[in-house]
């Protein structure tokens, strides 16, 4: 369920690192909790984000959830698919519905994040 090559946060974001670019998204657990997602408010490309700081938000019909950047860096790209089809976040949160790509400014930060097994354990405990 939770890809081994991703790293996870306790705020239910994932990051997939390739070289110095991290692709980030929300986890399947997050989309389940949110319900039908209707909108993703993402930072403009070029924006700098810090690990743990808010970087946009995801909206369902009756709630808004902040996105917390799993890593620090600069936003290089946001997913164009989400503007017209935010519901993809419910359908494929780990794949087609990635949120944004960040050029990492401090790759060592990855070490602080959870592995797939650790994240799995974490959400199990939360129940």
């Amino acid at each position: 369920m939770y890809p081994e090559n991703f790293r996870y946060t306790k705020e239910h974001e994932w990051v997939r690192v390739e070289g110095d670019i991290g692709t980030i998204g929300i986890t399947d657990h997050a989309q389940q909790e949110l319900g039908d997602i209707v909108y993703a408010d993402l930072p403009k490309p070029g924006t700098s984000v810090a690990q743990g700081a808010t970087a946009g938000s995801v909206e369902s019909v009756k709630a808004v959830s902040d996105i917390y950047a799993p890593v620090s860096g600069q936003v290089t790209e946001i997913n164009p698919v989400l503007a017209d089809a935010p519901e993809k976040l419910n359908e494929d949160p780990h794949g087609e519905a990635w949120l944004m790509k960040i050029k990492l400014s401090a790759p060592a930060e990855i070490g602080k994040l959870l592995s797939a097994a650790e994240y799995q354990k974490y959400i199990e405990a939360e129940k």
Binding site: Y39, D41, E59, V61, K62, A63, V64
Partner: protein
Amino acid sequence: MLDVIGVGSVEDLFAHLPEAVRLKQPLDLPAGISEYEVVEYFSARAAENATGYSCFLGAGAYNHFRPVLVDTVVSRGEFLTSYTPYQAEISQGTLTTIFEFQTMICQLTGMDVANASMYDGSTAMAEAAMMAVRATGRGRVLVARSVHPEYRAVLRTYSENQGMPVEEFGYVAEAGTIDLEDLDRKMDDLTAAVIVQSPNFFGIVDQLPAAAEIAHGRGALLIVVFTEAVSLGILRPSAEADIVAGELQSFAIAPSYGGPYAGVIATRDKYVRQMPGRLVGQTVDTRGNRAFCLTLATREQHIRREKATSNICTNQALLALMASVFMTVYGKQGLRELAEQNLAKAHYLSGQLRPRFCGKFFNEFVVKAAGRTPDEINKALLKKKIIGGLPLGRFYPELADSMLLCATEMSRRPDMDVVAEAFQ
């Protein structure tokens, strides 16, 4: 009831309150009076009002006819006494009227989306400014001096406490329209919006396309404000505006000594998520029938808290309904005819006077008083049961010798002739 809740007396319910804060004597209120005496009291107070006077005041509150049908519809208990719905989807009737209202406002202003109404035109303008700040990510706002002075004062109240710098730019002395050079000089890349009113406070149709070019050229939004809604019946809706903010008092809302009124805020689709206030949307129910709901609620404070677009969580439903009935009763053609009558009456009056500005005006214009002060002219008119125009010295020291006159469909020719004579 005391038995049921197991309490000895009413006093026992307050026993937990500290002695120090307990009131030990009965409230000092006069004895009650009969219903007849109450009616008599208010009739006497109402009789102290000046009735049967003709009024040439405009300046944001206008003397227009209120079609009889308005009160008939609005007095229905379902509308008159119901509170703003909390479980909105149950109040389909209320939501339907608001959706119709929003639709008509879009048709009149040429905008893509309008909300369920604001408190009044002045706060609508302030909210529009804040909207522009959010949408552009910039902090500063430019507003024309020809925008209603009280609207600018309200904007200052909002902006001062938010660290949102507001700067004013002037008007041209001959035409009474915005000073484009002054605007251009003060414009910069930190400006979120340029706010212009049309017809402006002097009644003059202002330079919207030119203002738009300057604003858009530097990435700022153009906010167009209106105080006289009847002008929408004849003036081309601004294609250049990004946000429209205005006042609906002219649409069957009695002047009421300043309020309550209903404000309008309308914008382009791309800014809808930055809009404050209630928004009614159309949808389908589980049976596929057309239904209405409150939509995009995630903008609002009950969900977004301190990140909400505004703290307004209501609208002026009853007054917006008055405006809706007005718009429905007049219709597109009727509203145009009404606007043309206003234009004709004001120009009949101005034809006998010398307007101070050469700019084209709708139903208000500025006249310089020669020989006497504006106050002296008004004093003389009052003796003839005519309320004259607004002496401008209060808001524009450079125009202390002038007054703002307004003529509407309600202005009678004999009265206009008396007003004209008072200026000779």
